[in-house]
Symmetry: C2
Subunit: 230 residues, 2 copies
């Protein structure tokens, strides 16, 4: 079984794309923002006349369906782009609410200007393309899991994925860098909160995980990995 996820997730960003000067040159409307945890960057339903480039930190993309069901589509990292789905250049609606998880730094520009930037810097264009492609793969993989694995496996998978990309060592083992509570985890996994809660609890009694209100820590990784495959 390939684990492209944990491997592919964090790619080094070309320094070029991080340089405010570069952006400023192409984009009159350029602005760098520093935001705090839980800040809402853009909201589902807004007219998408802005492109955001995440320079540092994590952003959660989530949506609410017409029936009020909650779903988290993705957790973004450094180098990801979101906001306007610059499809037709014309005002498309934003599909997901973007919220800072922990403090973040983002660049903000207008879509037309972003297009300029990309057109004039082929390596930024290429980076964007590879990123979009790998996000693509991730989503397909997640769909596969949702369709064919049971919630227990998906919880394990999701936690490992988060740990792989955004984890750091702590005293027990490996702690997630992202503050997530159980409902949020459930939304991310695509399952109901009660089920996720029970699963986590069982994992704790088995000494595989340790967790509290807003953190999760992996104690026995290999066990988790075993669970992942149903």
């Amino acid at each position: 079984m390939r684990d492209h996820k944990s491997a592919a997730r964090i790619q080094p960003i070309t320094d070029e794309a991080q340089s405010p000067d570069l952006w400023r040159r192409c984009c009159p409307s350029f602005m760098a923002l520093e935001l705090l945890d839980k800040a809402v960057i853009c909201r589902q339903g807004d007219e998408g006349h802005t492109v955001f480039y995440l320079v540092k930190g994590f952003v959660k993309l989530s949506r609410v369906t017409v029936n009020g069901d909650q779903l988290t589509t993705a957790i973004l990292t450094e180098g990801d782009v979101f906001g306007a789905s610059f499809i037709g250049t014309t005002g498309t609606m934003i599909e997901d609410t973007a919220m800072a998880k922990g403090p973040i730094r983002v660049f903000r520009v207008k879509p037309e200007e972003f297009r300029n930037l990309v057109s004039q810097h082929s390596n930024i264009a290429w980076e964007l393309i590879t990123r979009l492609t790998s996000r693509q793969l991730q989503v397909y993989h997640k769909m596969e899991s949702i369709l064919f694995k049971e919630v227990r496996a998906r919880v394990a998978e999701t936690i490992l994925e988060l740990a792989g990309a955004y984890g750091k060592n702590c005293q027990h083992g490996y702690e997630l860098d992202i503050p997530l509570n159980q409902s949020e985890l459930a939304d991310l996994v695509g399952a109901s909160r009660p089920v996720v809660s029970t699963i986590l609890n069982k994992l704790r009694t088995q000494d595989i995980l340790e967790y509290g209100r807003e953190y999760i820590c992996i104690k026995r990784r290999t066990e988790l990995e075993r669970l992942m495959t149903l």
Copy 2:
């Protein structure tokens, strides 16, 4: 409810990207292929040292999970790119088998050369970016449906989506251009074949659909649309 899918799906392709000469200039390995229905273009598990650009026709991307479950990830149209997920430029595995649905025309090049092409033609780069982004949106939407809608609604949705993008008028109403049998539809919907079969049957007796071995035809679109929203 927005129907970005049927709307956004078919975008006119810039003629530029269609020109073999242009490709030939950047890509020594360039080759244009004409393939017949059911031809396999690349196979899940292959080393991905080729990029394909679909010039004309439809391509089905599907995969088999470790447990043998079948899943169709996408149906591609003119202008879509597939094959190597040119993430790390290095040999990544291909995740989905690509099969021609009906006769097709594709361009084939090496990933490095494709990168050249894209770097030297910013509007091709941009087109690719917008396409990837809109495919992104579609997948998220599909995930949402899988999680929160029942199979009946998903069947309706899928058929409408296919019709919107790839349909043409026929004597009864609106016929899908793509040859799909029930198992294939089931794989695309993310449901089991028996369930899909029963649903289709019921839709036929309700005079909403007409279908046969490899074709589907919508007779009462508005009814289908009503079903779509559960």
